[in-house]
Amino acid sequence: MLPEAAELILFAAAALVLAVICVPVALGRRRVLVQGGVGLVAGVAIAIVPTFDLVLLVLCALGAIDASVGRREPLAVRLRAPIVAVAFLTLALVFLRVEGPDVLGRFAAVGLVAGLAAAVGLLPYIHPVVDAEPSDRSSIVWTAFAGPLLGVVVVWRAQSLLPVDAGAAFAAMLIGVGVLNMAWGAVASWLTTTNTAAWRYSFLADWGLVLCGFGVTLIDGRRAALLVLFALMLGRLPLYLAAGAVDAQKSTTERPLNFVVAAALAGAAPFAGFAARVLLLRGATQLFWPLALALALVMLLWLPGSLRLGLSLGSPRGRQAIVVVAVLAINIAAGLYPLPLLSAGRL
């Protein structure tokens, strides 16, 4: 198993524990535990199966199960993205396996990036979100819980399959799609009308950083991607769930805690997101310095959206407050000393 994948499974398990703590109702906690457990088992299966074909079939099954679990969107709407992802990824595999002109490798790279974006729920294949839906049932949870492991496994397998020139095209497309998601997600999380949509776009922005990290084919890029995924699963996701639970209680305030949360979401020092951004900028500078400049400019767009989301957290109490404090502590620890996380991923 890929060491990064094993680490992400642990992150997912920890995120599940935080999610269970966060849910205010006992019945909801059981449901979250069961659904999260199924997702975790599927994640382990994705990580350990020996071939890409089996990864795609597990994705098929997971997508179908996720679509059939009670949500407000029709099953057909929920099923669309994972199935389209499987179609793109399988077409890419076919192009990689058959004999033909070199351009087939590039078509395969396009299929892999499109499939990855559709599987995770990134632009241009955003999963639908319903405002009135409880946060733990939203498709955002798929993007933040199942998406990271899927992303790491797809990219790892793609890089081992693609020929050199197609591999370079794949990396370039990852950076392109990553910058698009960063810019769009950061601006939209600031300017969109509802808080649910703002949270959704903030996840897209973080995923943009991850894709850029994957695309920067240096060790710093992979390190940055791992740290952003850590911040996504053990920072943004629990905070989103906590915000959803607090919203249900109709409480909103502007306390110092809200500003600290905003700083964590924006990737400010000393949180984990800051270390990830520094590593990404260092890798991008080594690869092509104008890219680092563009990334730095786009990173500034995180601030207003993060402030909005931090304030939307309201005034957490009880279980939600425990989760928020735990998340902040974990992210500060990872930001100040990320080496154990990177070493565990052999990075």
């Binding site: 071939t51 074909d53 089996l54 795609l56 079939l57 597990v58 098929c60 099954a61 179908a64 199960i65 679509a67 059939s68 679990v69 009670g70 949500r71 407000r72 029709p74 099953l75 057909a76 709407v77 099923l79 669309r80 199935i83 389209v84 499987v86 179609a87 399988t90 077409l91 595999l93 076919v94 192009f95 396996r97 058959v98 004999e99 033909g100 002109p101 087939l104 839906e133 409880p134 049932r137």
Partner: protein
């Protein structure tokens, strides 16, 4: 020769999946597509793998036949764009499978491309859950068939997993649970 006919049957099944809006048409589409894929897989991967595909397809088709609107629903009014999609998709897959790509089995390449393409198009173009779940079943079988294009023998696992998904797709609840 048999491979070619089987590939044509797979296209016919996938096309029927695109053109049908009721349970009999969808069930026949799954059955034809699965039969075509199974015969092509038999010639490239072996009888065990083909049997797994056939069993998965048969269960999915039978289950689809038992649930939903009791009619054929093949080519209802306004189906011309779907018909054009089926023909154009088939020709495109034929060109890519036979003209652009090479090596291994041309029938397998065509079958995988056409079933993936048409099932994917059906998923994208429809909001009808039975049609989408039927497409899911056929797509899972096509993914397993694509494993046969690999240079290394994939073994029976992808075929078994695909059969399980295809068979299980009929049991997914179509009625939504409403959250408070």
């Amino acid at each position: 020769m048999i491979e070619g006919i089987a590939a044509f049957v797979a296209w016919l099944g996938a096309a029927l999946l695109v053109l049908s809006d009721a349970r009999r048409g969808l069930a026949l589409g799954i059955a034809l597509a699965a039969s075509g894929i199974a015969i092509v897989v038999w010639s490239t991967s072996g009888p065990t793998e083909a049997a797994l595909i056939a069993i998965g397809g048969a269960v999915a088709a039978t289950r689809r036949l038992m649930i939903g609107n009791d009619a054929w629903g093949v080519m209802p009014p306004g189906s011309t764009p779907r018909l054009i999609l089926c023909i154009a998709g088939g020709l495109l897959a034929l060109w890519i499978g036979l003209g652009v790509t090479g090596g291994h089995s041309a029938a397998l390449r065509f079958t995988v491309l056409v079933t993936l393409g048409l099932a994917g198009a059906r998923v994208l173009s429809s909001d009808d859950a039975p049609a989408q779940l039927s497409s899911l079943a056929v797509m899972a079988l096509a993914v397993a068939a694509a494993a046969g294009l690999s240079s290394e023998a994939p073994g029976p696992w992808p075929y078994a997993a695909a059969a399980l998904i295809a068979a299980g797709s009929g049991w997914l609840p179509l009625v939504r649970l409403r959250a408070a």
